[in-house]
C-alpha cells in the first residue's frame, strides 16, 4: 500500500500501554540508592554524638525496613510505566464515571500552583506573609456563597464526603445547641442520594431512613411526609439525583422538613448542570456542600485529594468547622472557630492547592462561563442520552420521555436478558476501545446499571465516539459474546481473578503479607 492513507475504521484501534512491570520490590538491588539525604554536619555530630546508639533501650530499629533499593532512574521508569498504564481523564473521553463530573482540569491551573509561593507556605506563618493565600481562600468562599446563595461558605473540608460529615456534624451541634439533640435521632435521605449522606449520618449516631422514588423515578414527597417527625434531625438529599432527575418539588421537601423542625441539607457535590440556574439557598436549604473537585474543575488525583465547600445559612454559620479566613479592610487574617464551631475536621485550611485551582477555574469563566458550563453539560447529556437510547438493549429507566439534567443512570437490563452479558462486562470490554464506565453505587436499584455524565468538557465528536463504542460492544454481546466475556483484550492486563480478595486467608494487601502467605512465590 502507499499514499493516500485509507479512511479510519469505525472504531479506534486502541491498545493501552503494557509494560508487564513486576511489583517494585522485585526491582531491588542491594546497595543502589534513589536519592541521598543531606549529611549531618560535623559540628552537629560533635555536639550530639551518635544519636542512634544512645537511644533508650528498644527504641532503635533492629532490622531496617525492607524497602527496595533502586537507582533514581529505575524508580522513575517504573512509575512512568505505571502511569502509562492508567487512563487519566486527560487521555480518554471520560464520560463514563457518572456522578463524578470528570471535567477538564485546566493545565494553566497546575502551572499557577506550581510555585514555592504556594507549595512552600507553612500554615502557621505570619498572616502578613500569607496574604495571597488568604485572599484567594476568602474570595473563593465568597464566590461560592454567591453561587450557592448561602450566607457563609467554608472550604475547610478535604472532599465531598468530609463535607457531608461536616454538614451532619453541624446539624447535630445545632440541634444540641437548641436542646433537641436527644430528641432528633433520625436522618432521612433517598436511595438516589449519594451513599455518604446515609453513611455519615449513621457515623454521627443517627438512624437513617432511606426513601425510594415514585414510579416515575421522582423523589416521593408523600413518602417524605410520612417519614418526617419531631424525631427528624435533617433531610440529606442530592439533587439532581444520581439519575440526573431534578426534584421539581425540592422546595416542598425543604418546607416539609422545616415544618417538623428538621434541617435540610443539600448534597450539591455535583452542581455542574445547574450553575447559575438555581441555587441551594433559593430552595430554602440550611446547609449544602459542593465537591470542588467535581463542579469546580480540580483534578481528581486518582482518588483525591478533593475539596469540599460547605455552605450554610446565617443560622448555621456559627457552627462552621475549622479556622476561618476573615477580611479586615484590605487585609486577611485567620480566626479560630467560635464556641459553637464544630472545630477542625482536618488540619488548617483544607486542600489549599485545590482551592487555588478552583479560584482560577471560576475566574477563567465568570458568571457567563459558569452558565455556559451548566447549559453545555446539560446539552451534552441530553445529546448523549439520545445516542445511547438508540442502542438496542439500552434504556434509561424512569422519567420516560423527559429530559435529564447532567447525567443519566442507564440500564442494560434488556441486553442482559437477551445475551447474559452484564453491564460490568460491557464496561470492561469498552476499555478495549480506550473508553470505560462504571456501573453505579450498590444496591443496583436500576438493574445492570451504567451511569454516564458527559459534563461540558467533551466535544460532540467525542460523545459520538463514546456512543459508537457502546453500540459496538452491544452488537458484540449479541454476535460474539465470548469476545465480551473474555475481555479485556487490548488492555494492560487481562481478565483478573477477584476470588481471593474476600478471603482473609488468601488476600494480600501488602507485599509483606503476600510473602508471608505465599512463601514459595517470592521472586514471582
Amino acid at each position: 500500500m502507499s499514499l493516500p492513507i485509507a479512511p479510519k475504521p469505525a472504531h479506534r484501534r486502541f491498545h493501552q500501554a503494557r509494560w508487564d512491570e513486576p511489583v517494585i520490590f522485585e526491582l531491588s538491588t542491594p546497595g543502589e540508592r534513589g536519592v541521598l539525604v543531606t549529611a549531618v554536619e560535623p559540628g552537629v555530630r560533635d555536639t550530639v554524638g551518635d544519636v542512634v546508639a544512645t537511644l533508650p533501650e528498644g527504641l532503635a530499629r533492629r532490622t531496617p525496613p525492607a524497602l527496595p533499593e533502586m537507582g533514581q532512574m529505575r524508580v522513575l521508569k517504573h512509575y512512568l510505566r505505571l502511569s502509562q498504564e492508567n487512563l487519566g481523564a486527560d487521555l480518554n473521553v471520560d464520560v463514563g464515571q457518572g456522578t463524578c463530573t470528570m471535567k477538564y482540569a485546566p493545565k494553566v491551573n497546575e502551572q499557577l500552583i506550581s510555585t514555592p509561593k504556594l507549595s512552600a507556605m507553612h500554615p502557621l506563618q505570619d498572616p502578613a506573609d500569607a496574604q495571597g493565600a488568604l485572599e484567594i481562600i476568602w474570595r473563593t468562599e465568597r464566590m461560592l456563597a454567591e453561587i450557592s446563595g448561602m450566607e457563609e461558605v467554608s472550604l475547610h473540608t478535604q472532599g465531598g464526603s468530609a463535607a457531608i460529615w461536616a454538614n451532619i456534624a453541624m446539624i447535630r451541634a445545632y440541634h444540641e445547641a437548641n436542646g433537641e439533640g436527644a430528641q432528633r435521632r433520625e436522618v432521612i435521605t433517598t436511595i438516589f442520594s449519594h451513599p455518604s449522606n446515609a453513611a455519615a449520618a449513621k457515623a454521627a449516631g443517627y438512624d437513617v431512613i432511606t426513601l425510594h422514588p415514585d414510579a416515575d423515578g421522582y423523589p416521593d414527597l408523600a413518602a417524605l411526609k410520612r417519614a418526617l417527625s419531631p424525631r427528624t434531625a435533617a433531610i440529606m438529599v442530592t439533587n439532581p439525583e444520581d439519575t440526573g432527575i431534578y426534584n421539581p418539588a425540592i422546595r416542598e421537601w425543604v418546607d416539609a422538613a422545616h415544618a417538623v423542625g428538621a434541617l435540610a441539607s443539600y448534597d450539591q457535590a455535583n452542581a455542574n448542570g445547574i450553575l447559575g440556574i438555581t441555587r441551594a439557598r433559593d430552595a430554602g436549604f440550611d446547609v449544602c456542600h459542593f465537591n470542588v473537585h467535581k463542579t469546580f474543575g480540580t483534578p481528581h488525583g486518582s482518588g483525591g485529594p478533593g475539596t469540599g465547600a460547605n455552605g450554610v445559612s446565617a443560622a448555621l454559620a456559627p457552627f462552621l468547622p475549622g479556622p476561618r479566613v476573615v477580611r479586615d479592610g484590605d487585609r486577611y487574617r485567620v480566626e479560630e472557630g467560635g464556641p459553637r464551631s464544630i472545630g477542625a475536621i482536618g488540619p488548617f485550611h483544607g486542600v489549599v492547592p485545590n482551592i487555588v485551582r478552583a479560584y482560577a477555574w471560576i475566574m477563567a469563566l465568570g458568571a457567563e462561563g459558569l452558565r455556559a458550563v451548566a447549559e453545555t453539560a446539560v446539552l451534552n447529556n441530553n445529546y448523549l442520552m439520545k445516542r445511547i437510547l438508540e442502542i438496542p438493549g439500552a434504556s434509561a429507566p424512569y422519567a420516560t420521555g423527559r429530559r435529564r439534567i447532567e447525567q443519566v443512570r442507564y440500564s442494560w437490563q434488556e441486553l442482559f436478558e437477551e445475551t447474559g452479558i452484564s453491564s460490568e462486562e460491557i464496561g470492561i470490554r469498552a476499555s478495549d476501545f480506550g473508553m470505560h464506565y462504571w456501573t453505579s453505587h450498590h444496591p443496583y436499584v436500576v438493574p445492570q446499571p451504567f451511569t454516564l455524565e458527559p459534563t461540558e468538557s467533551y466535544s460532540k465528536a467525542e460523545l459520538d465516539e463514546y456512543a459508537d463504542v457502546l453500540a459496538e460492544v452491544a452488537r458484540e454481546a449479541r454476535e460474539t459474546p465470548e469476545v465480551v466475556r473474555t475481555a479485556p483484550h487490548n488492555q494492560t492486563v487481562h481478565h483478573t481473578h477477584h476470588d481471593d480478595l474476600d478471603d482473609p486467608e488468601r488476600w494480600a494487601i501488602t507485599w509483606r503479607a503476600y510473602r508471608r502467605k505465599y512463601p514459595d512465590a517470592v521472586g514471582a
Binding site: 513486576p22 549531618v40 525492607a66 502511569s83 487521555l91 492486563v493
Partner: protein
C-alpha cells in the same frame, strides 16, 4: 468577551455544533432541559461574580499576582511544624504525581487503571515495610481522620466506650477526634509525665470498659514514646486495643510501634514526600495486622494482589469491598469517598527513592539536628526544655525564665525574618527542625533568641533599676 460566548474549556459552545446538537435532540433551546426546575427557584439573573479573565495570560497574571504576595518558608527561616512539616520532596515524586494519567484519573477499573491500582498497592506495601505491618489502607484524608477512625474501630470491636488519651495531642486533632467519636466513645486524658506517657497512670485507669489506649508518638511536642510495649501489655491485659498515632518519618531508625505491641497504627503521610502547601497536603494511614477482625472494621478501600488469565501478570482488585459504604451505604463502616490517593502515590514513590538507607539517614539527621537545636536553645539563660524525653523533629521550650512570652518571641523574631516556632500557651514555644534546617540555621535561631533574652534581661534590669530607685524618677 466575544459574542457568541465560546470558551476553550467548553468545546460545544461553538455555535454551529451547539445548534446541531440541539437540533439532534429536538430542543429549541437549553431551557427545555430545565423543565423540572420550577420557575420560582430559577435565579433569573447573572451570578454576581468578578469579571472573568478568559484569556489565559490575563488569568495567569492575576493569580500569580495574588500568590506573589505570599512569602514562603524558602524566603524565611522557618521552625514551624505542629502538623505540617518542611521536608525535602525529591523531584521524581513531583514528576510522577504530576503525570496527567495519575493526576486526572479517578475511579477506573483494575484494567484501564492498572497503574493506579499498582501504585497504590505498592504504597500500601511500602508503608507496610516501614511500619512492619501487613495491612495499610488506601489513604484517608489525614492523620486526624485516621485517628478518629482507628479509635472508632476499637470502639466497634470492643463494644466499649472509654478511651485513654495518654499523650500530648495537637489541639486541632484532639478536637476533630473528640467530635468524631463522641457519640460512641468517651475520651479521658491521662497526663503524660516528663513528655511521655505515664505508664502507671494508664495502668491505674485501665479496665474492662476501656476500648483503647491512644498514644501519640512523636507527641505534640515531638517526644518519642519509649515504653510502648509496657503500655501494650497493660492494655491487652484488659482486652483494650492499643492505638498509636505517629508520624512515619522516623521509622528508618526507630522501632515501629507494631513491634512493640501496637494494634492499630495511624497518622499522617505529609512528611513522606509532600510539600507544605500551606497545610493543604495531608493523607491519613491506618495500619493493622493481617487479622480480619481489624481489617473488616476499616472503612477505606484496600487494594489486593490478584492473578489474571495470563500467568505472571500482576493484577489487582478491592479487598473485602463489602465493608465499605460504597457497597452498603450506612451499613458499611463509617464512609469512604475521595480522599488522598495522589498523596499516597507520592509517599510510595518517596519511600521507593529513599530505600532503607535513605530512611535511616533521614531519621538520623532528624534526631541529630533536633538534639543539637535542643542543646543550642536549652543553653540560653532563662530558656528551658520542657521535658527530658528523646525528641524527633520538634521540642518545646519554656521562655518564662527569660522574662519572655512565646508570642513575644515570635513577634520579635519575625521582624528578623525568622519564624521561631509555634506558641503553645503563654510561655511554651514548639520549635521544629527538619533535614532542611542546617546547623547554621539553628545557630542563627539560637543567636537571635540569645539576643532577645539579653535585650529582655537588659530591659528587666532597667525596669528593676527604675523600681529600685523611685527617688530618681521623682527627681
Amino acid at each position: 468577551m466575544s459574542e457568541p460566548f465560546v470558551h476553550p474549556y467548553i468545546p460545544n459552545t461553538a455555535p454551529e455544533v451547539r445548534a446541531e446538537m440541539l437540533a439532534a435532540v429536538g430542543a429549541a433551546s437549553v431551557e427545555e432541559f430545565y423543565a423540572d426546575v420550577p420557575a420560582d427557584l430559577r435565579l433569573g439573573r447573572a451570578l454576581d461574580l468578578p469579571e472573568p479573565l478568559v484569556a489565559e495570560q490575563d488569568l495567569a497574571r492575576h493569580v500569580s499576582g495574588l500568590l506573589a504576595r505570599n512569602v514562603p518558608t524558602t524566603e524565611r527561616l522557618s521552625f514551624l511544624g505542629q502538623g505540617t512539616y518542611a521536608h525535602h520532596v525529591p523531584a521524581v515524586v513531583d514528576e510522577v504525581i504530576g503525570r496527567s494519567e495519575f493526576l486526572t484519573a479517578y475511579a477506573g477499573e483494575p484494567y484501564e487503571d492498572h497503574g493506579r491500582f499498582q501504585a497504590l498497592w505498592q504504597y500500601q506495601s511500602l508503608m507496610g515495610e516501614l511500619l512492619a505491618m501487613d495491612v495499610v489502607n488506601v489513604p484517608t484524608y489525614d492523620g486526624f481522620q485516621a485517628t478518629g477512625t482507628a479509635l472508632a474501630m476499637a470502639g466497634r470491636m470492643t463494644g466499649r466506650r472509654r478511651v485513654l488519651v495518654a499523650s500530648d495531642v495537637l489541639p486541632a486533632k484532639l478536637s476533630k477526634v473528640r467530635d468524631y467519636v463522641r457519640v460512641h466513645l468517651d475520651l479521658e486524658t491521662v497526663p503524660p509525665v516528663d513528655g511521655t506517657a505515664d505508664v502507671a497512670g494508664i495502668t491505674d485507669r485501665l479496665g474492662g470498659d476501656v476500648a483503647a489506649v491512644w498514644i501519640e508518638t512523636p507527641s505534640r511536642t515531638g517526644a518519642v514514646e519509649h515504653r510502648l510495649q509496657a503500655i501494650a501489655d497493660a492494655a491487652h491485659a484488659v482486652g483494650a486495643i492499643l492505638v498509636v498515632g505517629t508520624d512515619p518519618v522516623g521509622y528508618g531508625v526507630l522501632t515501629p510501634p507494631a513491634e512493640q505491641g501496637a494494634d492499630i497504627v495511624c497518622g499522617d503521610i505529609q512528611s513522606l514526600g509532600l510539600h507544605q502547601w500551606y497545610g493543604g497536603a495531608h493523607g491519613g494511614f491506618i495500619a493493622v495486622h493481617d487479622d480480619p477482625r481489624f481489617v473488616m472494621e476499616m472503612p477505606s478501600r484496600l487494594f489486593g494482589l490478584a492473578t489474571t488469565d495470563v500467568p505472571g501478570e500482576v493484577g489487582f482488585g478491592d479487598v473485602a469491598y463489602d465493608r465499605t459504604s460504597f457497597a452498603h451505604r450506612e451499613e458499611g463502616k463509617e464512609w469512604v469517598g475521595t480522599a488522598a490517593a495522589l498523596w499516597g502515590i507520592a509517599a510510595g514513590v518517596h519511600l521507593a527513592l529513599m530505600g532503607p538507607q535513605g530512611m535511616r539517614d533521614l531519621g538520623e539527621v532528624l534526631l541529630a539536628r533536633t538534639a543539637y537545636a535542643q542543646r543550642a536553645l536549652g543553653a540560653i539563660p532563662g530558656i528551658r526544655l520542657t521535658d527530658g524525653a528523646v525528641h524527633l523533629r520538634e521540642f518545646a521550650i519554656d521562655v518564662a525564665g527569660a522574662g519572655l512570652t512565646a508570642s513575644g518571641v515570635v513577634d520579635a523574631l519575625r521582624a528578623e525574618g525568622i519564624e521561631p516556632g509555634v506558641p503553645a500557651g503563654e510561655h511554651e514555644l514548639v520549635v521544629c527542625v527538619t533535614e532542611l534546617t542546617s546547623q547554621r540555621d539553628i545557630d542563627r535561631l539560637a543567636a537571635a533568641v540569645t539576643g532577645l533574652v539579653a535585650a529582655s534581661a537588659a530591659e528587666a534590669a532597667a525596669t528593676l533599676d527604675t523600681v529600685a530607685t523611685p527617688e530618681e524618677h521623682r527627681a
